[in-house]
Amino acid sequence: MPFELTPAEEMVRRITREYAEKEIVPRRKELMTDDREIWEEQAVKQLKAGHHLHIIPREEGGTGIGFVASCIAVEELCAAWPDLCFIPYGEFAYYFAKATGGVVYDKFMPGIISGDIQATPAITEPSGGSDMLGLQANAKKVDGGWVLNGRKCFVGEGHYSDFVMTLFKTGDPNDPKTPGIRSLTAFIVERGMDGFRVGRNENTLSRKNDITEFIFDDVFVPDSHVVGGERGIGHGIAPVFSAVGDIGRMTISGILNGATLGCYRTAVQYARERKLYGRPISELQAIQTRIAQMATDLQATRALTYRAAWMRTRGIRCDAEQATAKVFAELAATRATTHCVKIHGAYGVLEDYMPHHYYKHTPVRFGAGGTEESLNIMIANAALRQDANPDMSSKSMENAGWWGRLDW
């Protein structure tokens, strides 16, 4: 296994870091006081700059460098500020357009490449997200399309989205004709469609107006907007799971790794500059232990994330690896942000210092891309079905089928 980044991936890190140091770092003071302006600005700028293009093949207008590059770009942006990152929403837009094809692909693709279009998945409902069969939102077939009714919530940056991919019930899971998950279909719903609107924005630990609610009130969606076309009716799980795995879980891992990286950089610098007993605290072994643990977690979490991303770029089944990466990224970030706060002493909790922000943004990602609990079920299932590949053998990886995979 190659244990180094490709030259292009290294260059992606440099370019994204340059972007973050020019665009985000000088404005941290504004961000610390929850300034909306920079959010509005970055929502446009980051995608205009094309940071979401790495997962899009070159023949379709992207850079085609791959999923590892995407994780690196997310990581660098989030090291600068732990959640100011719009890459996932550009990537989702591509993923959904690609999965749907036809008029949806043709309509949105130019805007996706130019960075004018964002999208987000809207799966979770007020009653929950992990229990797919418990979803309440339903779609009724009418002439030429479907009529959607329901509510979706906890959607990250949903109010910026130009369209969403959402999961609705098109049948009864107890009906033998549409058994279980065959009762679920994914739809593309565009902003501006009659009856589709943004509900309330929720304030989180991270910031005000962080996550969005969507309301679908008799929304007519044409047949062309069924993800997967006619074959997609009753097959909504595959695109949803693929998107949540490939984009959601990978970028959330990147976001958490960004917090870990940011904490590591901040803590190392602070430990070298802050003096106690007449010498830098970096000379105290108690501080060195914390730095060492942060360095270990940073290396480990990157290795897991990059490997899952590398497998995805190669088209190798990696749902269990993506889950592993996200679970570990969460643990690593939780530990690293704590170390960072503690190394900074009382300064660590002040709003004017970065450790405060890395620390409080981390839990916001606990649920996104799947909770630790539900991901552990996936990991355990893979292990118990003997689908898991802890030996990292390329042979067994390529032989494995992937039940939730889109075939493109």
Partner: protein
């Protein structure tokens, strides 16, 4: 509008993020650069940016040129990431140890090998040496006019420029014909962040590497042998503080203070 062909001279300098690791070699009197990442001299990035902006408006070509050991290719890759068309590295042991004159001679020899250059751009001075000499010297070797301290470039027509040059307490506007060499300041523009596609350009485009055999040079005038200047001594400047408590009535203290500062020679006109 006539397309403009640019050559931008870029210098590798130690990354300022690692300056705490820089040491002076007491024997050679040079900076010890081992283990310290190099970057493009910041003002040279302003020069690249200006060339790219004019090229984007008028058409043309931007070539960067540098001189140094093989690791200088790293900074040329970064120049490709910005979007330059071509890069050339003068690399040969014979070029090593050059002062500004020998450097400018070598760069000018490389530039002469490139066809039809309209504007040579470079940073006004480097972050490490800060002599500001290479620009004018390159221009002399090329036999073209030069302007230093450039903070704005305007085209009057296809062959004439109005160049604003920064001077103390103001600026001059200088009219010049092409070809010309311009040494730009950091105020001329705000350099872009490289495009994400820069990651592809940087890794897929390859800089040309020229040795002394590839350019027409007089071997007596390059490298250490061709350098009339050398550094005989370097010294660390140590800043020290002294404190003294003055006593008495305020007016008396003020008088004492002025007398003492005058005696130290730190009052203007004293």
């Amino acid at each position: 509008m006539k397309p403009i062909n640019f050559v931008v001279c870029v210098k590798p300098v130690p990354d300022s993020r690692y300056w705490d690791r820089l040491r002076l070699d007491p024997n050679t009197k040079l900076l010890r650069r081992e283990g310290i990442p190099i970057v493009i001299n910041p003002m040279d990035i302003n020069a690249i940016e200006e060339a790219l902006r004019i090229k984007e408006a008028r058409g043309g070509k931007v070539t960067v040129i540098s001189m140094g050991p093989a690791n200088t290719l790293e900074i040329l890759a970064w120049a490709y990431a910005f979007g330059v068309d071509d890069a050339v590295l003068l690399t040969d042991r014979a070029f090593a140890g050059a002062d500004t004159l020998a450097t400018a001679y070598a760069l000018a020899s490389g530039i002469k090998k490139l066809e039809e250059v309209d504007i040579v751009l470079l940073g006004n001075e480097s972050l490490d040496g800060s002599t500001g000499q290479v620009g004018p010297q390159v221009a002399e070797f090329l036999g073209v006019p030069h302007v230093t301290g450039v903070e704005k470039i305007d085209f009057v027509d296809d062959d004439t420029l109005h160049v604003r040059r920064k001077i103390e307490f103001g600026h001059m506007v200088i009219e010049t014909k092409l070809p010309v060499t311009l040494a730009v300041t950091g105020e001329i523009n705000e350099p872009r962040v490289p495009s994400v596609f820069g990651a592809l350009w940087a890794t897929e485009k390859e800089a040309k590497q020229w040795t002394v055999n590839d350019v027409k040079v007089d071997n007596e005038r390059i490298g250490q042998g061709g350098s009339p200047t050398y550094v005989p001594e370097v010294a660390n400047i140590e800043l020290q503080r002294r404190s003294e408590v003055l006593k008495g009535e305020p007016a008396e203290i003020a008088r004492q203070l002025v007398d003492k500062l005058s005696a130290e020679g730190v009052l203007p006109g004293a």
